[in-house]
Symmetry: C2
Subunit: 242 residues, 2 copies
């Protein structure tokens, strides 16, 4: 047996929701395409569904930021060398997470913005399938605006429909009805002028694939997988992490 | 939001192989059937595909026992309150793991033997779909023998076929051909007198389900899921952990 190639140990802030974390692990394994078990990346995963709800923070209740900071710190102590988080909305707490670490935290928001610029340099208007918190906090809108790209979001009633659908998916619903509804919401964004649809919530790709819609789909779960492999396996330098 | 019910944090010694770990996490999530994300168990998963091969230990190379002991100790330090391992063969190193812990390590071997006695009290001969290491070390044969149950194993040529098939599955093969071959090996055990077939390797249920064979299938991944929920969520006392 030869020694495994030098790789970074990847810490995963997970459980938001658990199905999205498992989806990330599964697709990462497939994307790695290792011939031998030993050639896959080592992942330290804190799959913690008890992180306070990112979409319903209670003013005087436990806040997600300190919980995520503790989880990140625990993963670093256990040996993680870089940290990723397959949940877009929780990136609202990126500053808390980075303050708890001396290793890089890979921002899914920044990586997705960079991937958009690389893959769709002509795109000037992109559509966001994201949680209301992610939209209200302008996580993607601001990142894209820096690149001169406008964001199209759903009108309030449809944003509420998307939010309800995301909670359905979190409860395990991957039915044809759920798929049809997600597709309809994506199509609505393209009808409003989006040239690319961004699956900016990791529950979205659980029921929506690129071949489901006519417009190009930028899937943030896939972005995170590609960048995790680039940094942890292929030795690419991490430039986007603060 | 109400407080989540008291639950134990579950440490998972994983990555042997990664697909089996992901399969365990996915089926555990489904079996939990939580209405709210926050009602799922928190898992700390060390998905480490770099654990030296349990089936080809090299005399003077790194041994799996100390690596597993370090991983277990790391999970306890990170906050795990019980430890499980969705890999049957690695239970050869149970003593190393337990020596590194002051929290319970749930033996999949002992739990499967107990489940066999509960679920199939009449069974006197069971068939083992297991790795050659698991068979040679008599992990299951000895546990079943204590209960007066005989084990049926495959003849050497077929045991080698099963081993090759397990490595194929570890490389991602879940094809119809792989399914048919696993079914044929299971049927061979029943033809040799097995009243119950034990999927005694966590790669087996990736290509074999209960409805695929005529004999009852005792799936060790499902056993581990049921017992993890009983101990970590439902507060059942742990009696089998040494």
């Amino acid at each position: 047996m030869t020694e495994p190639p030098p790789q970074l140990i990847v810490g995963v802030l997970g459980g938001m929701g658990p199905a999205a974390t498992i989806d990330f692990m599964d697709k990462l394994l497939q994307a790695t395409g290792a011939e031998r078990e030993q050639d896959n990346l080592r992942l330290l995963v804190d799959c913690n569904p008890h992180v306070p709800d990112r979409n319903h923070p209670i003013a005087d209740g436990p806040q997600p930021g300190p919980v995520l900071a503790d989880m990140a710190s625990g993963l670093q102590k256990q040996g993680a060398q870089i940290i990723v988080m397959p949940c877009n909305t929780a990136h609202k707490f990126t500053a808390d997470i980075r303050a708890a670490l001396t290793i890089p935290f890979i921002s899914l928001i920044d990586e997705t913005a960079a991937m958009l610029a690389r893959r769709y340099p002509q795109a000037k208007r992109v559509g966001l399938l994201a949680t209301t918190t992610c939209i209200e906090d302008r996580l993607y809108q601001d990142a894209f605006a820096k690149q001169g790209v406008d964001s199209v979001t759903l009108p309030p009633a449809d944003a509420a429909r998307l939010m309800a659908l995301i909670y359905q998916i979190k409860r395990g619903d991957r039915s044809d009805a759920a798929r049809a509804e997600m597709k309809a919401l994506a199509d609505q964004l393209t009808a409003a002028g989006a040239q690319v649809v961004v699956a900016a919530c990791t529950e979205v790709p659980l029921v929506l694939a690129a071949h489901d819609i006519a417009a190009p789909l930028l899937d943030t779960t896939q972005v995170l997988i590609e960048r995790t492999l680039a940094y942890a396996r292929d030795g690419e330098l991490i430039l986007t992490a603060a």
